[in-house]
Point group: C2
Chain length 349, copies 2
Amino acid sequence: MQVNIPLKQVIDNSYSITIDQLPQIELDTKVAIVTNPKVAGLHLSYLLSKISVKELYIITVPDGEEYKNQASIDTILESLFNHRFNRKSMLIAFGGGVIGDMVGYAASIYQRGIDFIQIPTTLLSQVDASVGGKTGMNNKYGKNLVGAFHQPKAVYIDPHFLTTLPSREFGAGVAEIVKMAVTFNKEFFEYLETADLKDPKVLQEAIKQAVETKASVVAQDEKERGLRAALNYGHTFGHVIENETQYKTYLHGEAVAIGIIMANQLAIKLGLMSEDEALRVENVFKKYNLPTNYAISNTETFYETFFLDKKSSDANITFILADGIGGVKMLDDIAKETVVSVLAQFGAC
Amino acid sequence: MQVNIPLKQVIDNSYSITIDQLPQIELDTKVAIVTNPKVAGLHLSYLLSKISVKELYIITVPDGEEYKNQASIDTILESLFNHRFNRKSMLIAFGGGVIGDMVGYAASIYQRGIDFIQIPTTLLSQVDASVGGKTGMNNKYGKNLVGAFHQPKAVYIDPHFLTTLPSREFGAGVAEIVKMAVTFNKEFFEYLETADLKDPKVLQEAIKQAVETKASVVAQDEKERGLRAALNYGHTFGHVIENETQYKTYLHGEAVAIGIIMANQLAIKLGLMSEDEALRVENVFKKYNLPTNYAISNTETFYETFFLDKKSSDANITFILADGIGGVKMLDDIAKETVVSVLAQFGAC
């Protein structure tokens, strides 16, 4: 005998992203702001002046990628249990990508899922990590290997928070903006070539363009079954660099910048990009003091480490390459020798 | 400025439940069967004779509700990482409700979600736990407080596995069958009053009816925003009983049976059910040697423990009561005195 469960449903996870000064946020429920001590010291009083809720709790977890782990998730969950949060309660992620990813993940598993809001405070999280519902944590096997797709109810991007951002972190955010432009929007890239992102008006416009690009990609492929993987441009290489340097030498966005440079060299080799186009990308990175080179000590080891990336299936690695400026191609049949010969260019610096 | 992410999508999580001898299962992917030593000893060779996959792994976790925890989830995840499972890999939950819930949860968070199949081996998991996509684990705060909604790709219910089921576990499954009948299907309840579930043909029919009822409820309210909560009939009381006895005295289904008896007494008090109807439910339980009484030592403490249940919001407890046989009412405004006076009936045994 057979019983069918028809679960073909229209699910509306739509939400809006506000890029502007933080509005007044009023919520008639129990709310926890989850942040780290650094962000709290700089910006919590400002956030509190904008928030009015039924019952408010502040949860802090240690600052840094090395704390994006089960222990921090447990800290968040335990606080929610101790304060008897229920299914109608709400979390607010207040910080960079690490905070956003962890709070989203905690929200996704607490009592099988509660709502959360993103208030990203770094450029990288404002243009990329806070949008799209990817949540998760790291473990000893790698980054973001445990997690869920869980969309926020709203994202508030207030460029005011960026005034205190260290310049390296600003650059790291620029790398993700460039990623969006090179793969999906030629005009946007040309704008970035001449614009000065240190100008607040220009920055706000660039954030909007980056977020629009990301939103459009996510709307087409929420769970990364195809197109969305294009947003990993530069990341396949970048993850190996982060792994080899134990996440200590480079910020994520910096490793992505180097990864994009590497991907572009591979694209040149395959005739997808011209030397000149690759140089234009590199020039934008240099404007914001992003690193563009990395000494690969062993190309074989570097290549093998690709396979630890969760986006790779057993036999093949999918490389995401720029197809000129403003285009993207995903290829899973590039010969190992081709890739290694490109990696060898980075061995001798 | 505002950017909208339109994520109104048609998501098809439909799947079918086969109630019959296990068919040949062929999967062209990496598969892990997750089970416990007891089930493996009894039935793994039978399952293996039915399975043909690309690459097969067997993961065992300790048997019992006390191991439905983070340590077991970690055991499963670590094995998947060590064997480089990817997003196209598949898990098979092979065991009772504990295994099913944990495997579903592990599948929901491994690399942000992979597929899994349920092959339940106890009556309780065949008629209830394996159907509907509720997954999770326990922690020190209570049962199933961390988890996700993650639907299986298929459920295979083979009554053959029940031939080795201890009679107490059989009864525990009957309690959940009765739950479905009393709340949603009067004819089915009348069938259960006269039928002998020890007869394999009758049992298969009862499983089918129970699963159909559950499937219909889940299809209407997958994420338990309303109707699905009715399936917690008997559970509000049952959870307190399990909590007070540290999950050691009663099987879950046994605590639910007592919980249903308590809920029915409350329903009588509120005029929703007749004494005779409550007695008919009790008689079915007695046929399968289910417990129907519990000595409440302190009605105040018992009442307070309701609030630890995650289904309750801050101020109110929602009681799920039979509205006669075949009907259900959810009430969140029952006076404490009314409830306590009913609890007092159970104090003096």
